[in-house]
Amino acid sequence: MTAHDPQQAARSNAPTTTYLYDAYDTAFVRERVAEFRQQVARRLEGAMTEDEFRPFRLMNGLYLQLHAYMLRVAIPYGTLTARQMRRLADIADKWDKGYGHFTTRQNLQYNWPKLVDVPDILEALADVEMHAIQTSGNCIRNVTADHFAGVAVDEMEDPRPTAEFLRQWSSLHAEFSFLPRKFKIAVSGATHDRAAIKAHDIGLRIHHNDRGEPGYEVIVGGGLGRSPFIGKSLREFLPREDLLAYLEAILRVYNRFGRRDNKYKARIKILVHETGIEEIRAQVEAEFAAMDRAPFKHDAQEFARIAGFFAPPPYETLPAQSPALEDAKRADAAFKAFAEINVAAHKTPGYAIVTVSLKPIGGVPGDATSAQMRALADASEKFGFGELRVSHEQNIILPHVKKDDLYALWRMLGAAGLATANAGLLTDIISCPGLDYCALATARSIPIAQAISRRFADPERQRLIGRLGIKISGCINACGHHHIGAIGILGLEKKGQESYQITLGGDPSLSASIGELLGPGVTADEVPDVIEHIVDFYLGERRGDERFIDTWRRLGHARFKDVLRREGEDGADI
C-alpha cells in the first residue's frame, strides 16, 4: 500500500524523464527543511552543542571542511532536469562562490556555504524537488546508477526505477539511520557496468532469468577506502518481488554484526571479508527466511508507478544515419574529434548520447561555474528534452540529442568552455577535492590532475593512447576511486611532505580488480614523469588496440615495475 498518489505516474512522451514529487514527497522534504531550520536556530542560539548538532547537520549533507562549511546536494541516480540545474547555478551565485563541484557519487558540492544560509539553500532546493538528505552520515546514501540509463544500446532495463524505489525505501529508514558506517548502493541494467557496482556495499545488476523474468544479481561487500575489496556475488538471481525484503535482510545482518568497535573496520566489506561470503550468505538467507516479509512485500503497482516516470521522451522517427552529422564532421576536424570521442551510441535511431567533459586541460575535475551550469541547462532544453545526468566520472551527460543537432550543440558547448574532446581518454581524470578543500585529505589531488592533464594535452597523443582511466585520491578514503583506476594515484603525507603512491591495474567494470602498488611514493613534481614512463612503455608493448588494463594483465605487474626501476637508474628518482 503506497502513501504516494497512484494517479501521478505513467507519463509516456513527457518532455522529461525523471521522477516528479507528488504531495507526499513535497511534504516530506518541506518538513525536513523546516526541522533543520529549527535545528540550526537552536544551534546558533546555543541550545545545542556541536557534538549534539553534528549528527543533524551531517544527515542534511552539511560538513565542516578546511576553509568553510560544505553542503553536499543529492542528485538521485545522477538525473537532473534543466530547471534543477538552473537552480543549482542560482544557489552557487546567491549563497556560494559561483561554482559547484560534481562528485564521484553523482552529487554536487558547494564549498563555501554559511551555516546561517543553509536552511534557505535547502528551501531553494526543495522548490525544485531536491534535497541534501542522507548525503552524509552512517545511513544508506544516495543510490547511484548507470549514467547512460534508459538510452544505452546494451541495456536490458533502465536501472532508475529500481534506484528510485530503493531511494524511497531507504529515506529515513528508522532501522538503518544509524548503521555501523555509511552504506552505498549502485544499480546497473546493462551488459557493460558503467556504475562500478562491484565497488559498492551493494551492487545490483538487473538481468533476466531463463523465463525472461526481471531480477537482480546481488553483489555485496565491495568498497574502496583504506581496505579495498571487490564485491562478491551473494545471489545470482533475486526475483524482483523479493528485492526490498532481501535488502532488508542484508542490512539487518550488517547492522547486527558490523564492527561498531572500530570505525576503520565498520564497513560491510570488512564483515564479508572476515566472515566469508558463504557464512554471510547463510546468515542473510536465514534472516530472509525467518523475517516477517509482509511489510516488504513487493508493491508492483508502486514499482510501475515509479517506472512510469522514466518513460522515453517523445523521440522523432529518424533514420539511423545523419547526413548533416557526416557533413559537419568532414568540414570541421575539431568537431569530428568531439563526435568520435564524446558521443556514444543511443538505442533510438537518429539520436546520440553526449558526454560533456568537465575536464578541460589544466582545469579542476568536476567543477562547473554557474554560467556553465546555465549553459548546460539551456543546451539540454534546446537539444535534449531538458534532461541531464551526472556521471560518477564527474562529467555531465546529455542523453537524448538528435544526431542532426550535434554540430550546433558542440558550438554552443564550445562557447561555454564545455567542448573538450576527451571523454574516457587520459585527461578525463577522476579526482577528489583533496587537500585544497577537504578536512580529511592528506595531500592535494587537483594539482596532480592538472599537471598530468597539461602534460598530455596534445589531443592526437591522447587519441593514440586511447581509453585510459587515471583516478586520484587525496587520502586513504579513496573518494577519487584510485584503487580502480587503470592508473591510480594516492596522495599521502610522508615526513611532513605530500607524497604520491601509484597503482596499476585497477578496473571499475564487471571484470573489476584492485590496482597494485608500483613502488615507493614520489613527489608531486615527479608524478607526470612517472605517468609518462608508464604510458610510453604501454604504447611500446600493446598489441593492436589492446587497452592499458589488458596489456598490464598480459605482461604482469613486474614488467611495469622493471621499466620504472630502469628509468630510475638513468636518473629519474622514482
Binding site: 565542516l64 576553509h67 568553510a68 554559511k114
Partner: protein
C-alpha cells in the same frame, strides 16, 4: 612550564559562517598575522582554554593548536602544509579564500 619545540597559534572555525579564525589578543581574528603566539606550555594552555570557552559559548568550533615559525616581520607561518592551506585558501583557486582578500588589498602572501 616548558618551552615549546615550535611556537603555536590557535585555529578555529566561525560557527555562523565556517571561516577559519585565529585567536588573537583581542578575540578571534580572520587574519593569521593577528594571532597570539604561544611559546611555552603555559601560554599554549591559556590559548586553548580561551578557545574551549568560546566553543562552550557557541562562538567557534573545531579548536586546535598548530605549530608555526615566526618570520622576520614577526608574523606566524604554519609549519605544516595543511595549515598553510588554511591561512590562504585553495591552491588551485587563488581567487578564493583569505588569499583573495589579501591580494585585493595588495598584501603579500
Amino acid at each position: 612550564m616548558t618551552q615549546l619545540k615550535n611556537p603555536q597559534i590557535l585555529f578555529a572555525n566561525d560557527l555562523r559562517d565556517g571561516e577559519v579564525l585565529f585567536l588573537g589578543a583581542s578575540g578571534w581574528a580572520r587574519d593569521h598575522r593577528q594571532a597570539s603566539v604561544a611559546r611555552d606550555s603555559l601560554e599554549a594552555q591559556a590559548l586553548e582554554a580561551r578557545g574551549k570557552a568560546d566553543v562552550a559559548a557557541n562562538r567557534v568550533v573545531d579548536v586546535y593548536l598548530a605549530d608555526v615559525m615566526i618570520g622576520p616581520d614577526g608574523a606566524p607561518t604554519p609549519l605544516h602544509y595543511r595549515e598553510k592551506m588554511r591561512i590562504n585558501g585553495p591552491s588551485v583557486r587563488r581567487d578564493l579564500g583569505k588569499q583573495a582578500r589579501s591580494e585585493k588589498a595588495g598584501e603579500p602572501q
